[in-house]
Symmetry: C2
Subunit: 193 residues, 2 copies
């Protein structure tokens, strides 16, 4: 098989576009989960407009100040691991200069849809103390996304690690964004064969 | 709380050191799982020497040619998501210019230890068709690493997605590297509180 191959990759790069940071500048604190989810759903809508995937996330501190936004970068960055939650976690950690957010305070990870198996697994490693979720797993699966195999009691597993979970925040609006993306013919990556 | 914060992170970066690529140059094909695992265990030993974590991984093509090495970069890159498997997957995809390795052929992900919950979740998203594992989950947990909450039947879940799994390749040697790291006082990150 002939195959084109780029040079050795000395640095893996995943972009966090300026518009995502711009959306958070001069925002002031967003202490309520609904406010944080609304911010994240704004990222989703904009990312879809730009041809990206219909998922967004963000890390906020205990006062509701945005530390880092995250959007899905799978397709533009050739990075199947660049889900919105992974991007938000990595951007927050690199901004705070820490590989464990617990060392820097108390932070929440806010996401437009229930994390897939990979992102659920990443959540405890990030050191966040809470997880706030808009759409449910079944809302993502309903439009064709594969969420992966999760532990049956993933919610209890997170809570046993000291991570509180809040679900269904603006769920209908979040599910409508997913459905609109699919109706618009968006790529359903990670959709299996 | 006062907190030092870096500027907005326009690009998340995760390094793949030149020595990891160097180890694979002029290597020729390594068609056997044992050969691929030995290569990965060599990465682990060198990464520990350099003060890194005791985990390594690599993506090989169907002929046993190295596409990308992966080492744990959690601490040096302030990236809790930069486990060896994630690094190998992302480096392979960015090298091949694809967000789904299925589109580029048939590839194996080889890892020095059973993937944690996050890396198991990432495996189907990468598009690899096989997963080759050295140490078992319990070998990593025995020295204090938290592997996260995995689905009870993670092996069956991967196989149902068309990913074959081979375990216990050079397991004793891999477990000994983990034990040696812990005895040497290495950081046990992702170890919980």
């Amino acid at each position: 098989m002939s195959r084109s191959m780029n040079p050795e990759v000395s640095t893996i790069t995943i972009g966090v576009p300026d518009w995502a940071w711009e959306a958070g500048r001069d925002l002031g604190p967003l202490p309520l989960p609904e406010q944080q989810v609304e911010f994240v759903l704004g990222l989703v809508a904009r990312n879809i407009e730009d041809g990206g995937g219909p998922f967004g996330a963000a890390v906020f501190d205990a006062h509701g100040l945005l530390i880092a936004p995250g959007i899905n970068r799978v397709v533009p960055d050739n990075a199947p691991i660049a889900h919105a939650e992974i991007v938000a976690i990595a951007a927050a950690c690199q901004r705070l200069g820490s590989w464990d957010l617990r060392s820097a305070g108390s932070f929440s990870l806010v996401t437009s849809a229930e994390p897939c198996a990979m992102c659920l697994g990443a959540t405890p490693w990030s050191g966040v103390s809470s997880l706030i979720i808009a759409a449910r797993d079944e809302d993502a699966r309903a439009v064709g996304f594969d969420e992966g195999a999760k532990p049956d009691d993933w919610l209890g597993e997170l809570e046993r690690r000291g991570i509180s979970v809040t679900r269904d925040v603006c769920r209908e609006e979040a599910a409508a964004l997913l459905a609109g993306y699919a109706l618009g013919g968006g790529i359903i990556y990670n959709g299996g064969t």
